[in-house]
């Protein structure tokens, strides 16, 4: 269940979501995208359904008033990760139909595991301090300015550590891609 993923997502407003029409529509869209990503036959269709599910999540964040999280979700997940998934599928498997039936015997263990994770996360969210403290008050506004100040003052060390990790990842990716160059250059020169 991607809805309550990393710790950063639980820092958002955790007040009770009003079950109004926009929320219902967006929730159904997100869940439909997720279910389609599991059950469609062509792998590229699954990737596109996953991108739809990401977009639904972004819309849910925007519905809650978390502008930065929603737009960053669109930019990063739909703009980069969905495209990465699609490229990976195309460059490796190609678009053959799935040979196996989508529901393999190991699928039931997966369902049980997903339910267990959902149960643990749901219990953690329901019993957290944020859900019990100011759940009926107005939501704290997370303007860009306050996010910027928080990143530069209180959370500057995690920011720098993440930047270091991303640099290492980029250098690693460049190294992995670079190793083919001398051989291909030699073969091109012949």
């Amino acid at each position: 269940m991607k809805r309550f993923g990393a710790a950063t997502k639980s820092r958002l407003k955790l007040a009770r979501m009003r079950t109004t029409l926009p929320f219902l529509i967006l929730a159904i869209l997100t869940l439909a995208g997720g279910v389609a990503a599991m059950t469609l036959r062509r792998l590229v269709h699954c990737a596109l359904a996953l991108a739809l599910s990401f977009a639904g999540l972004a819309a849910l964040y925007l519905n809650l008033g978390a502008e930065f999280a929603g737009l960053a979700q669109l930019l990063v997940y739909v703009g980069a990760i969905a495209i990465l998934i699609v490229f990976a599928i195309l460059l490796t498997r190609g678009d053959e139909d799935q040979a196996r039936h989508p529901f393999s015997p190991a699928g039931w263990a997966g369902v049980a595991l997903a339910l267990a994770v959902f149960g643990v996360l749901g219990w953690a969210v329901e019993t957290s301090a944020v859900a019990h403290s100011g759940a009926t008050g107005p939501a704290p506004t997370a303007t860009m300015r306050s996010i910027g100040f928080a990143l530069m003052q209180r959370y500057v060390l995690p920011l720098e550590v993440i930047a270091l990790m991303l640099t290492a990842a980029m250098i690693g990716a460049a190294l992995l891609a670079m190793r083919e160059k001398p051989e291909s250059a030699r073969s091109r020169a012949q």
Binding site: R42, V44, H45, L48, A51, A55, A58, E67, F68, L71, A72, L74, L75, V78, G79, A80, A82, I83, V86, F87, L90, D95, T143, M144, R145
Partner: protein, 403 residues
Amino acid sequence: MIAPGLSVDQVFVWVKHWLVVRTPAPWQGLVSILLTIVPIIVVFPALFAVTTVLERKGLGRIQNRYGPNRVGPWGIFQPLADAVKSLTKEDIVPRSADHVVHYLAPLVLVGASFLAYAVLPIGRNMTAVNLDAGVLFFFAIGAGTELAVFMAGWSSRNKYSLLGAMRAIAQMVSYEIPLILSSVAVVMIAGTLSTTAIVERQARYTGTVAHWYVFTPWGLAGFILFMIAATAETNRSPFDLPEGESEIIAGYFIEYSGFKFALFFLAEYLEMFAVSGLGITLFLGGWSSPMSWLEWIPSWMWFFGKLLALIVGFIWIRGTVPRLRMDQLMNFAWKFMLPMALVVMVSAGVWRFLPAVVEGSFALGLVIRWLVCALVVLLPYVALARVLEQGRKIEKREYRFAE
């Protein structure tokens, strides 16, 4: 709702307010939304029609030929002929194509292109949606564009189409980084991500000259980088290898005919206008005039004037510069534009912290600030260009003709 005063500058805001106040209360929200959206949907495709004629005539004159001149005087009704043609052409879909994705791709692309106009300040008080994170919204919508391009290329089940789509996405993703980094420099100095606020910060005047960011060295370099990256983002020549007609026929929209092709065309031009609009907002001061004595010209007229100037620039470059090869394109993005974008950010930081007034003289302070920041941009530029040129052997070109 505060009633706006009636002036030529605010005439559209006044008309909208007048109409909304006169609708019954439950419908006011809906009418207000429609009155904001429908002009965008009408005006920018009309601008697209004008631009197609302008482009074909302009390219024709650059290439020493007439453009279209049959339909109407000087060919100005050519877009009507094009519209009729695209509506009446047979819509051919390959049998093995993925019909659902093939149908959805142009819709997603056009939808994403229209969404980008929501945060552009077209005049004073004339932003469709005043988001707190407007610039971020713009770039997030560009992400939808890339996915639509992939959908178009993959669903056609055609080798050239897929190749064109892969190249287009690689190009768009690579050039997104200098695009975003050069706008980050503006956001740094403006201190806000809201497009309306960025324009308002540039609409101030010292003496007669406005505070446009393009009048600063980092702003000028950033604007040039932004426009080059924008040309590449929208697959416009000289970066149009993914849709080059002589290279891979038409790239990711080979298998689209009739109206769907017209939708792709529309989406490309709409994206071009939107990204030019963002460049105008970030660097050229949006709807403000450059000199304070020119303020009597309405704000929306300034915006569209600047937009037309940028469009003419796009057409001019298309007719002049030859197409870049894929590896030249990617090298340019990663090895040159990305370091230059970072240098522009450093220069913007230096501009921020240098004092504006030196020994009580504003002119001296301005000159020193300008010189120092220009040096911070120019020295790395020259050094980078020298370093990148070393690996290349450029010899004197020899022409051999048949004898």
